[in-house]
Every structure is written in structure tokens, then in C-alpha cells.
Amino acid sequence: MNIIVASGKGGTGKTLVAANLAYALSDQKEVLLVDCDVEEPNLHLFFPQGGYELPVTTPVPVFDADRCTGCGRCAEVCRYGAITVLKEPPPLFFEKLCHSCGGCEMSCPEGAIHEEERAIGKIRFSNPRDNIILISGILDEGEVMAPRVIAAAKSYAGGHPTTILDASPGIACPVVEAMQGADYCILVTESTPFGLHDLALAESVTRCLGIPSGVIINRFSEEDDQVTDFCRSKDLPVLMTIPFDREIARIQNTGGLISESMPAYREKFADLFSRVTSAGGFSR
């Protein structure tokens, strides 16, 4: 069972949900948490860890100036503008624009291009608490190929039976990469116009990908029925509401877990999991 926590809008509480859901389940079973917000991973703030790291690399072309004739075929093939062919070989290569498609190597009539691995990030593994394994994808500063690091983090997660993935905000490539293959998506929103606007975008992505989803409304306001109306109109279940509460904010802001400090939430999150598994068509 792969459950992804996504949102559209940033700062709605994805990590709060992922961390507390994992904690609430950890007395029943082992849970694998995967931080897919590789540009700003933060699950480790709730699960301080040592752990160990492995590098993430991506193949990029290397040009052999002696073989290159400057024909320009590689630059024509490159859809990302990563290669500029000058009068004198070798071509100029922009590594940050390269998507590692391999098209330049395949198209070079002189065999003057081969690929070498370039480091763009790392994966950190830790076991911060009993029954909780944390895999964090970390994109190096200044790098842009977030989906590569997310794919690497997910591949290490393998087929663990209880995997909770924390996505990045937005609905761009990194979120789509993180969502691929999920059995259920928990969309976290808040009772604000921005929360609703971005929830609608995120919901459209889960629909495109065919992933069943439900909503958690954080900083929930009884007076704001726009989000609940939206959920009703889209047939999206509201799985949980979390009130705008000073004590929750205090626990969260000190790196604590509400499902640990407030026992009612431990039950709520455990109950959330059983509803999600039955909605995703899985038995516990």
C-alpha cells in the first residue's frame, strides 16, 4: 500500500499528516516514510536521525573533441537547448539543462559522445524510531532535476507493504513523479481561498493519474464551507479536519508529533489509515 500525501498549496500540512500517520501506525506495523519533497525535505525534523547516505547521479554527455566534426546533429536533437555547437569542437554543454535522454549520444554519426554519471543529490536512510524507516531524497543546491532524485528514493522504497510518501507542493513534474504508482492520495488543504484553488489543481492531477483520493482540511474553519462544497461536488471524501489550534501549532513548531502528545490524534490517524486502505481497495 503506497499512500502519497500531496496538496497543491505549500504549507497546508502535508508533512504534519505524513509524520503523524506514520507514528500512529508504528505500534502496529513497520512503516516506511519517503520524503519526496527533495528540494526542501523536512520529515527529518520530526524524526531526527543519523543514518547513512548514497549518491544520486544522472548520465550526461561527454564530448570527444578529436572525433567531433562540429556537424551540429546533437544540438538539433536536444530538445532542451543543452548543447550549443561552436565553430570549433567540442560543443558547449549546459549540464543543468540536460534531461539525460541520451538522444545526443544516439544521434552522433562520429561516435564522439559517451555518457558519464554526474552527482545531483543523495538519498538518506535512517531508522529514527522503532518501526519507522525514513528515506529522504535530497536534491543538491543549484540542481534542477528533482524527478531523478524522487525516482531514486522511490526505487529504494521498493515494495514495502506500508509506504507513506510526502510530496512537494505544486502539481509540476516532481509531484507527478512522486504520485506515479500510488494506491491512494491524501490531499491536504486548508480553509482559505488559496487552499481551495490549489486543491482543485491537485485533484485534477490525481484524477488524470487515476489515483483514488480524499481530503484532509487543516486549520479548519466551520464558517468556511467552500472547501467542503468543493469536495462534495467532486465526490471527494473529507477524511479528517484539523482545527486552527494554538496547541497543535506549538507542538508542531517544536518538532513534536500531535499523535504522540495528543492521544486523540493517534486514534484519528490510525482510523484514517483504515479508511484509506478500504477506499484504496486493500485489506489491512
Binding site: 544540438a75 530538445r79 532542451y80 537547448g81 550549443t84 555547437v85 561552436l86 558547449l92 549546459f94 543543468k96
Partner: protein, 111 residues
């Protein structure tokens, strides 16, 4: 010497375009003669990586200098590597007027 002016349209009476990579047209002038030729920029509305590809258009057309409003980081690297001099002009005006200013030596090369 061939100089390229970034342009909003295909003719020398069109307004100069201040963006380099996303300029709709590149107009090439020869400082030795009167003739010019316009090349439509196929990358004007591209998703990304347009700078180096626009620079490739200038390299392929044999430009030795470019007059534009601004150049992004990747395009700057490509233009510099190709030995194309860059001149910034940040007042609105026609392509023809920009070329005249270049020819009269009124523009200073960006370093």
C-alpha cells in the same frame, strides 16, 4: 561584419525586442553594406533552454555582435564561447535606429 538586432517583427522598422532568447525575430545586418535578412526565432515561445538555442541561431548565421536589451545566463555563456560581442540597448526604438547607433559606435560592449 555581421551584427544581429533582436526584433519584435520581421522588418528593420519594427521595434527592437529587449529579450534575447525569446525575441520573435533576429535581424542580421552587414556593417559593410545595406542589406539585411530576418530570421524567425523558432524558440521564442519554447518551454526552456531557449537561450543557448537562440545563440545557436546567431552562430549558424555568422553574427559577430548582437544588440539586445538583456541576455540570460546560459545564452551569455554560449555567446561568449562563440566570440559574439554583446551590446545592450535599453531604450525603446526601431531595429533600424538600433543598428545606426551600433554603426555610429554609440553603444558600449557589455563586459
Amino acid at each position: 561584419m555581421k551584427v544581429c538586432i533582436t526584433s519584435k517583427g520581421p522588418g528593420p522598422d519594427d521595434m527592437m525586442e529587449e529579450r534575447f532568447g525569446r525575441a520573435p525575430f533576429f535581424i542580421f545586418f552587414d556593417t559593410e553594406g545595406e542589406e539585411h535578412n530576418a530570421v524567425e526565432n523558432p524558440f521564442a515561445s519554447g518551454a526552456g533552454g531557449v537561450g543557448p538555442r537562440a545563440a545557436q541561431v546567431l552562430i549558424d548565421n555568422g553574427a559577430k555582435a548582437v544588440v539586445t536589451g538583456n541576455v540570460g545566463g546560459n545564452a551569455l555563456g554560449a555567446l561568449r564561447a562563440a566570440g559574439i560581442s554583446i551590446y545592450f540597448l535599453r531604450e525603446p526604438g526601431t531595429v533600424k535606429a538600433a543598428f545606426q547607433q551600433f554603426k555610429d559606435g554609440k553603444l558600449t560592449e557589455a563586459v
